[in-house]
């Protein structure tokens, strides 16, 4: 898919997404408290908040350029299945943004003094939960694509939908931390991701169509 090509051209951005995430993770110890005990307790929450914020920021740009250079018009006109295109685009973005992030995870968990018990839970929640975040996010991005400077608007629309994911994920990690089973939370996350997989491509396609024809 050429989507990858476009992303590859912007490999710099991918790299930047990663660095942004790292920076958020740095910001918290510095701004709030740097004591290992505090950080160990807050680590998974901080990482998840960082992930949510990076996704929010990168997702907002997903259709902006395509809108401004007229590519969205071309997609609509092309007769290809718009929902499918959306899905591919989301997948490409997910791979490119989340994968490097997962690779960084051991390093970050060390920097935040995260206990080993919860590390794998964190990785699992990220794997299962982030596709949902992306899928929910694109709906917002599609709705606001015709609004210049829509970043904030996207966030406003999306964040309430992100809260359940965030809550389930951090609950899972906390359960793992105290030695409880957390597969229930993971199942909930998976369910959320699957649900958005069903709903999101169609909603996104509809939103894109509405934005472009407006």
């Amino acid at each position: 898919m050429y989507e990858f090509l476009v992303l590859w051209r912007r490999k710099q951005d991918v790299f930047n997404a990663l660095l942004f995430f790292i920076i958020v993770v740095i910001l918290f110890p510095l701004g709030v408290s740097a004591e290992p005990a505090f950080l160990a307790q807050a680590a998974s929450g901080i990482i998840w908040c960082g992930v949510v914020l990076s996704i929010l920021i990168s997702i907002d740009h997903m259709f902006k350029e395509d809108y401004q250079d007229g590519s969205l018009e071309q997609w609509i006109v092309s007769g290809l299945s718009l929902p499918l295109l959306m899905l591919l685009k989301v997948m490409a973005n997910w791979v490119v943004i989340i994968l490097p992030l997962l690779i960084m995870m051991p390093l970050l968990s060390e920097m935040l003094f995260m206990p080993n018990t919860s590390f794998w839970a964190l990785v699992l929640t990220l794997l299962v939960g982030t596709p949902g975040l992306f899928l929910i996010g694109v709906m917002g991005a599609a709705l606001t694509v015709s609004v210049r400077q829509g970043t904030m608007l996207v966030m406003l629309l999306i964040l309430p939908l992100y809260l359940p994911v965030l809550i389930f994920a951090t609950s899972a990690v906390q359960a793992a931390q105290s030695g409880l089973p957390y597969s229930g939370f993971l199942a909930m996350l998976l369910a959320l991701s699957l649900m958005s997989l069903v709903v999101s491509p169609f909603m996104t396609a509809m939103a894109i169509k509405a934005s472009v024809s407006g």
């Binding site: 710099q12 660095l19 740095i26 110890p29 510095l30 740097a34 950080l39 060390e110 003094f113």
Partner: protein
């Protein structure tokens, strides 16, 4: 004093030929010094009574940490020179030194982290020195990323220079603020006013390793600047002659 050397230094052609004769010797001296310092430090220096043999990491840790800071200093000065005098060589210098500096900062963090495990019990703490090296690393990465993101060469030159100067102004502030915020790391060994507290057998190899690494990096830097010059001045006749001959 004549300013001639300054203008000469600014001319890529002059710099190229000047550096061509210096790069290899400086690099070799550097390698030699580093090897001598490290072998001495690793095998012959006495053991530290508190930390045992883990302290031997100092012979690589301190040189790279010092280099990381010096590289930023040099980069910032080069940026300033470019913004004020438009010296042609300065952006090439920045382009060449930024990756070296980033690597040095990274090595300081890695060697420090490995040292931290036996002495402090963790790989990482949020301490002033460590945080400021991390920030240093990010500043280097910022300059590199900026240069990569901007395709237009004149813009990339200016932007990288501005960024390095701004970072240079901020570096002491960052340092001061993090020191104020949290200090755990050891103070400096070498100061101009005081003699080191370690025994000479311990600090002498360190000094040799530091000087060696400086020379090694200087050699690398000259080579990198040379390749930058070749790429940017590819249309001038002397580059053609240089490239078609086997001088390189």
């Amino acid at each position: 004093m004549s300013w001639l050397w300054f203008h000469k230094l600014g001319s890529p052609k002059w710099f190229f030929f000047w550096s061509k004769s210096w790069a290899l010797p400086v690099f070799c001296i550097g390698c030699f010094g580093l090897v001598v310092g490290l072998v001495w430090g690793l095998a012959f220096a006495p053991e530290d009574y508190q930390q045992g043999n883990s302290f031997r990491i100092i012979y690589i840790h301190v040189p790279v940490a010092m280099l990381a800071q010096s590289c930023y200093l040099a980069m910032g000065v080069a940026g300033l020179i470019f913004l004020v005098w438009q010296m042609k060589i300065a952006p090439m210098f920045i382009k060449a030194i930024a990756p070296i500096g980033a690597v040095m900062a990274l090595m300081a963090m890695v060697s420090g982290a490995i040292w931290g495990k036996p002495t402090w019990g963790t790989w990482w703490v949020w301490d002033a020195r460590l945080t400021s090296v991390l920030v240093l690393f990010l500043l280097f990465m910022g300059v590199i990323a900026l240069q990569n993101a901007l395709e237009d060469i004149t813009l990339a030159n200016k932007a990288a220079a501005i960024m390095s100067v701004v970072g240079l102004i901020n570096l002491p502030i960052i340092k001061y603020s993090v020191v104020l915020w949290n200090t755990l790391h050891q103070g400096p060994t070498f100061t101009i006013t005081k003699k080191p507290e370690m025994p000479a057998e311990m600090w002498l190899p360190l000094l040799i390793a530091v000087v060696g690494l400086y020379c090694l990096v200087a050699g690398l830097l000259l080579w990198r600047i040379q390749s930058e010059i070749i790429l940017r001045e590819h249309r001038s006749n002397w580059v053609k002659q240089e490239v078609m001959g086997n001088g390189l």
